[in-house]
């Protein structure tokens, strides 16, 4: 990425302030905390680095996974209070760097060192790093940033990635955010670093809907909850009076489709996060479950049982439309997940006798089995990249596995007693799922990357199941 494109990205990204346009957002000077440094000159330098091969644009897995990255506290031009941090923008700069550090560390791909173990650069040093200092600390990469509180209360956050050995800037971006959204700027910075060094698409700036679980196994309270991809900004949405299950964010994050027993029966409701109202996905006295959104947000897939026979339907997400039945076998046809282009759906069925995975066209035609010789196949989820399908593989224990859309190259990624319900990171490189413990039934959310090597548990306030990872935030 050249600085020219980084600058363009900044202009586009500045829209996340959402409330109102600000002329300064389109000014490159926003990125320059000291009023020094010429973006044009820097851009030329960055291009030169790329052109002469001094550093590869996409560093291969062999060398970037162990890259040492120093992430000191973000600097500020003037320490002043902000709603984002009552201690002021200096303290906020420390927090911003911690968020970037934890994002990069928790995914196991880098060896970052965070702000609590590093000297704090001055505001002027953000665009003119003390490279000798960082070389002395054996840092290969350096992430620096700044935060400024504007007169309108909003925050301008800049993020810079440097190659310490080459003493050159690899990427920079800036964002203007509401104080309440300061963590998003840090996630954007982590995304910038991750994307620039791995060549993969960003994913940190995203949210997760899931089910929070408390209480004993035979009287478990299950509440709909949401959180950022790193577990921050956690919020319960339902009060637990009725069991909630299987949430799915709409692609624009405006709504959540989920199952609730609020009237005593399992039914899908579409909850509007802004108005806090919810409506039935379809007016029917039959039970509905397993909601899924189409990638464009226009359709909701759901499963409905009539007289005990479950089939898959789709209905307009805008409400009021006539549902279209997509499967009609006497077996259980359930779940479903769209291909990223919306043209196909992978679903599960026990029409062969046990649960297996099938693919059909989005109109229900051309249904064909894709899973063979690998135990049972359940809860298939199409990768946002389109190249893989994750599923729950049942062969004695329950594991998370991936395969190609044609069912080939099955790889088992986890080995818990009961790991189920995979959901993809927006970039299709990481899978979340939930793990249930034998006996207690206690559940927790875990994630694993496609190598299967980087497995970790997400911290949640209480037990957690049914994760659903949304796309990168709009």
């Amino acid at each position: 990425m050249t600085l020219k494109s980084a600058y363009l990205a900044f202009v586009a990204i500045a829209g996340l302030a959402a409330a109102a346009p600000v002329a300064a957002q389109s000014s490159p000077s926003v990125l320059d905390p000291a009023g020094i440094g010429d973006p044009a000159v820097d851009a030329a330098a960055g291009a030169e680095v790329d052109d002469d091969g001094g550093i590869t644009v996409t560093v291969t897995a062999d060398n970037w996974q162990d890259t040492g990255i120093a992430i000191p506290a973000f600097a500020t031009n003037r320490d002043q209070p902000t709603p984002a941090n009552s201690a002021g923008t200096t303290a906020l700069g420390q927090e911003l760097a911690r968020v970037v550090f934890n994002d990069l560390r928790n995914n196991g791909l880098f060896r970052p060192v965070g702000p609590d173990a590093l000297p704090r650069p001055s505001y002027e040093q953000i665009t003119a790093p003390a490279f000798a200092t960082w070389q002395g600390r054996s840092a290969e990469m350096l992430v620096q940033g700044f935060v400024r509180a504007g007169s309108d209360g909003r925050l301008t956050v800049g993020c810079y990635l440097y190659d310490v050995a080459l003493q050159s800037e690899l990427a920079r971006e800036g964002w203007v955010v509401l104080p309440s959204e300061w963590r998003r700027a840090a996630h954007k910075c982590a995304d910038l670093v991750y994307s620039r060094l791995s060549g993969e698409s960003p994913f940190f700036d995203s949210r997760i809907a899931y089910i929070a679980e408390t209480g004993p196994k035979d009287n478990r309270i299950k509440r709909l909850a949401v959180m950022d991809s790193d577990g921050a900004n956690h919020r319960f949405i339902t009060n637990g009076r009725s069991t909630a299950l299987t949430p799915r964010y709409s692609p624009d994050y405006g709504k959540i489709a989920y199952l609730s027993y609020t009237d005593g029966n399992p039914r899908i409701y579409v909850y509007d996060l802004e108005t806090r109202n919810q409506v039935l996905v379809t007016e029917s006295t039959n039970p509905t479950f397993a909601p899924r959104w189409s990638p464009d947000g226009k359709w909701i897939l759901y499963s409905m049982a009539i007289g005990g026979n479950t089939d898959i339907y789709r209905v307009s997400a805008s409400g009021g439309g006539t549902p279209i039945r997509l499967t009609d076998s006497p077996a259980i046809d359930v779940g479903g997940s769209y291909s990223p282009d919306g043209s196909q759906i992978v679903f599960e069925s026990d029409r062969s006798g046990v649960q297996q995975c099938y693919v059909m066209n989005a109109d229900g035609s051309n249904q064909r089995r894709i899973s063979f010789n690998s135990g049972r196949c359940a809860t298939p989820e199409w990768s946002p990249r389109g190249d893989q399908i994750a599923f729950t593989r049942i062969a004695g224990d329950f594991n998370i596995a991936v395969m190609t859309p044609s069912g080939g190259n099955v790889r088992v990624l986890t080995h818990g007693w009961q790991d189920e319900a995979p959901t993809w990171a927006p970039n299709g490189r990481i899978i979340q799922f939930f793990r249930s413990e034998r006996g207690s039934g206690d559940s927790s959310i875990w994630q694993v990357d496609l190598t299967g090597d980087n497995l970790r548990r997400l911290q949640t306030p209480v037990g957690a199941s049914d994760p659903a990872w949304g796309p990168v935030l709009p």
């Binding site: 478990r220 199952l259 399992p266 049982a305 779940g335 189920e420």
Partner: protein
């Protein structure tokens, strides 16, 4: 009268349970209203659960309010038929009653599939009751999937007890 019914039901359930493919090792407790005392067998005690109440039905069934299934299955076998006949007799004896049939699955399945499986099981029980002459509009179904285990252990025996359809009175 109640006393005789209970005694007969108990013995028949125990006898039949011995033949079942995967019998529950113990008869599960009544799923509802455990705080309500069972009807006292003392003939001089006029007070007790009203006929048609869940407590009355549960006590009268003495275990026959629940039928059990093999893994991923929903067929009604001979044991289930005997229990459902007992339920049908009760529903016939008290024609103003209505029943809810709750389908359940064990924890060893995926959540959505278990919801569908619970639906299948509840509807299989309902269809058999209808075949015995119970009016369709007196019988509702609900699936709880794997959400309501009666036995919280993670053992094959516990799973066998949780793969069930339970009939309860709608009061």
């Amino acid at each position: 009268m109640n006393r005789i019914v209970i005694a007969l039901t108990m013995s028949s359930v125990l006898a039949l349970a011995a033949c079942k493919k995967e019998p529950p090792e113990v008869i599960p407790p009544a799923p509802r209203d455990v705080s309500t005392p069972a009807p006292t067998p003392t003939p001089t005690a006029p007070r007790g659960p009203q006929p048609g109440s869940e407590a009355h039905f549960s006590a009268a069934m003495a275990g026959a309010d629940t039928i059990y299934f093999d893994t991923d299955q929903y067929d009604i076998d001979a044991t289930d038929m005997a229990a459902l006949r007992r339920q049908a007799e009760y529903l016939t004896q008290y024609p103003s009653t209505r029943a809810l049939i709750e389908g359940n699955a064990d924890e060893r399945g995926t959540r959505d599939y278990n919801l569908a499986l619970g639906e299948r099981r509840a509807n299989a029980a309902r269809a058999y009751l209808v075949s015995l002459g119970i009016a369709e509009n007196r019988l509702r179904t609900v699936s709880y999937g794997e959400e309501r285990p009666v036995d919280t252990a993670s053992t094959p025996a516990a799973w066998a007890r949780n793969r069930r359809a339970v009939t309860v009175m709608i009061e």
